[in-house]
């Protein structure tokens, strides 16, 4: 029982983290129609910034705040210097150009921070276990991730659905020329959206950092997961990304935790212990394949253009 609750929460936490990454990706994809492979690099940069700033300032929160600003600025600079010129081009061009950016970021990180990973230690008040149910404790930090991510998701929803900027963003997504003709500075809007996506990716990176180590290439595996999520959820749909992220987070975590035992019921011990890790890594890709075969546009497709 304890294990089930704990893994369930782990799955939720991982899913919410994935949502932060996928939200930025799907916004950029849905609004600018840009395939950004370098989104994972922004995630990595968020983690490196946080580790560096936290070490400089000596405060975890201050470091995270500074890192958030730094990824926002980095995203804006990246958009204005390079990615802006890719709008309206073929998706293949996006893949190639942002692939180049990944190479660049990985190498730049190696040059600046060295090939060894960094650690981002947690402050003492985040390491205590918190009782959530009678007799069941859960790490405060993971709980904090859940709360922060849910809060961000809510803000994002309200921001996109209830504010003027959000309205402009949605309008820009459905018809770019029209909103430009109405006198809205679409370029600025795009830059803002990209910066927002970058900051979200950076936030995801810095929140994951204390759990895993901060290292080169950390953004690449999780980027593919984020792509799986937006494809399952339907490209451009934040609601779809949210549901799919939770779904994928749960399946991945629960699969890794319980699949070995399940397989052991069917197969011999040795066969199960070799098959289980591969099978649990495959689960989400299998899920994506099934979703795409049944509903090629994803589960919650955004409005067609």
């Amino acid at each position: 029982m304890l294990l089930v609750v704990e893994q369930f929460l782990n799955g939720l936490q991982f899913g919410l983290l994935l949502f932060l990454l996928a939200a930025g990706l799907t916004l950029v994809f849905g609004i600018m129609d840009l395939v950004n492979l370098a989104h994972g690099s922004l995630y990595m940069m968020g983690a490196y910034f946080a580790a560096t700033f936290a070490a400089w300032t000596g405060s975890f929160l201050l470091g995270a705040l500074l890192a958030l600003g730094a990824t926002l600025v980095l995203g804006i600079v990246l958009e204005m210097s390079a990615l802006r010129h890719l709008y309206g081009r073929d998706h293949l061009d996006h893949v190639l150009a942002t692939f180049g950016l990944i190479l660049f970021f990985n190498e730049a990180v190696r040059l600046i921070w060295g090939p060894a990973g960094l650690a981002l230690p947690l402050p003492a008040w985040l390491t205590v276990p918190v009782p959530i149910l009678p007799g069941i404790h859960y790490p405060a930090y993971r709980l904090a991730i859940i709360v922060v991510a849910l809060l961000v998701a809510l803000l994002l929803y309200l921001g996109v659905m209830r504010t003027r900027i959000g309205m402009l963003i949605r309008a820009g997504a459905s018809n770019r020329e029209m909103i430009g003709a109405l006198g809205i500075n679409i370029k600025l809007l795009y830059t803002l959206v990209f910066g927002l996506g970058a900051a979200l990716a950076g936030l995801a990176g810095m929140m994951q950092a204390p759990i895993l180590t901060v290292q080169i290439g950390m953004g690449e595996n999780i980027l593919i997961l984020a792509f799986v999520i937006i494809v399952i959820g339907g490209i451009g749909s934040i609601r779809g990304a949210f549901l799919a992220a939770i779904f994928v987070g749960m399946i991945d975590t629960l699969g890794r935790a319980f699949l070995p035992n399940l397989l052991r019921q069917v197969l011999s011990g040795a066969a199960a212990s070799t098959a289980a890790p591969a099978l649990s890594s495959m689960l989400i890709y299998l899920l994506m394949a099934i979703v795409l075969v049944v509903r090629p546009e994803g589960l919650f497709p955004a409005n067609r253009r």
Binding site: G100, R110, I224, V231, P296, E297
Partner: protein
Amino acid sequence: MKTFSVSKAVTALMLAGLVVLPLYSNLSGNVFILTLFTRIVILALAAASLNLIMGFGGMMSFGHAAYLGIGGYAVGMLAQEGIGSGFIQFPVALAASAIYALVIGTLSLRTRGVYFIMITLAFAQMAYYVASGLARYGGDDGLTVYKRSDFSGLINLSNRTQFYYLCLACLFAVIFLIWRIVNSRFGLVVQGLRSNEQRMQAIGFPAKRYQLVCFVISGTMCGLAGALLANNTDFVSPAVMYWTRSGDLMVMVILGGMGTLFGPVMGAVVYLLLEEFLSQLTEYWALIMGPLLLLIVLFGRGGIMGLLGRLNRG
């Protein structure tokens, strides 16, 4: 029609260079260049196979490295089990790639556009994780191929020059085959589907079936490259299938010129030589390579072949 063009001349020069390379290597005693170019020729073969579906068929596969792994593992696994004959290993490698292509092609071709890019990527990642889970065949660490494929005296793969010429012959054979396919009725249908699928379907062509066959042919060709690659490195590991590998192949195709016959070969030669050159220049070669790719995308429409074509006109 012009009889002379810059792109034709450069292509001919490059091909001639590839043919006489072992001569230079043997005369100068520079073994390294032969090893390097064997790798280049094999990856050029893989890039050419990707170009068949990407350039001519309009199917943007982001999971082509999976076939490199499948072909390689077919050779490695059979060698491990004591079956060293190339006459068994290579057909198995091709058949395994074809079957894999048939399965994922059937599923992936239901989608289009970005979804197609993503689903092929996801399947390749799946293949990557399957290979990582093969504990019997080395798992994450990969599998050493202790003995190269044995063609019972017909050709000796351990001889550098012979192996190089085998790879080059395979490359030329594949390019010849692609040339025949592209100019056949089948190839024209596939290219028509790239331009306008709806219209082709309205005329009465079963679109998906044509695309699937093209997809399988391409995958099988890339499986051949995989089998050669495993022989070249005497090693195969899941890393061969990692998604950045698929990205590399895409870069080669686009860099050389998508939808041209010799573009991918040119792309592979330039990309891998550049990588080699930059990595000798500085340890941080990717720092230059990355932005270079960006610039190529932004300013170099049509890749090297497109550039040469413009030179000719300008």
